[in-house]
């Protein structure tokens, strides 16, 4: 059986694929309001390529603490949007949908922030959950 951790083909492929996957994930979340995609899908793309990279090379990209901070920032943005909407209109998440522009990227500013929050939260959670499973040691 081929060990992916020692396969030159797998390592080269993942190394070449990694930057494209990262850029694609940023694109998917950025244009999530107007094109197919969104924050959750983009976060899964980023998390998956990080997990594949770590499995292929046997080393980590970023520490646990870094991903916990990313996850925390995502939650803060999400809760911040909720409070911002409440202060603006009296309803949670309300009143912010009217902030629109003519550009495709920021056609709805509020949706962009929501997608960003979900993107950060999901990508960090994906990596942390997979690391938890991979590094789990059951001594029973």
């Amino acid at each position: 059986m081929i060990d992916p951790g020692n396969s030159q083909i797998v390592q080269t492929s993942v190394r070449k694929l990694f930057p494209f996957a990262v850029i694609f994930s940023i694109y998917v979340f950025s244009y999530g309001a107007n094109l197919p995609g969104g924050g959750f899908q983009a976060g899964v793309v980023f998390g998956t390529i990080v997990v594949v990279f770590e499995l292929s090379f046997g080393r980590r990209i970023g520490s646990h603490a870094a991903y916990q901070i990313i996850e925390f920032v995502g939650i803060v943005i999400l809760v911040g949007c909720m409070i911002w909407g409440y202060l603006d209109s009296g309803y949670f998440f309300g009143g912010l949908y009217r902030h629109t522009t003519e550009t495709l990227l920021f056609s709805s500013v509020y949706y962009w922030f929501l997608n960003l929050a979900i993107y950060l939260e999901v990508l960090a959670s994906m990596v942390l959950i997979f690391r938890g499973f991979i590094e789990w040691r059951d001594d029973r």
Binding site: Y97, Y110, Y111, V122, I129
Partner: protein, 85 residues
């Protein structure tokens, strides 16, 4: 330090959700709406074109937020269990 901050944040979120459900949500009258929500009109108002985003970040935003909290709790649970090993 980061782990402690993470635990405090999750605890605050959980206590807030518990207080909200026990105090305010108990008095909410549940009504079944038979009319169809015009998502296209909502999309026009919000100036976006992805109807899936219209639904899950618009009228269903609280569902999305609770899904996010479920994922956070999964990470927290795994961190907690690994910390006890």
């Amino acid at each position: 330090m980061t782990g402690r901050l993470f635990r405090i944040a999750v605890a605050i979120l959980m206590v807030s959700a518990f207080v909200y459900m026990t105090i305010w949500l108990a008095g909410v009258e549940i009504v079944f709406h038979e009319e169809i929500v015009d998502y296209v009109a909502i999309a026009r108002t919000m100036n976006i074109r992805n109807l899936v985003s219209v639904i899950y970040l618009g009228p269903r935003i609280f569902d999305t937020m609770i899904e996010v909290l479920v994922v956070v709790l999964t990470v927290y649970g795994m961190t907690f269990l690994r910390g006890n090993e």
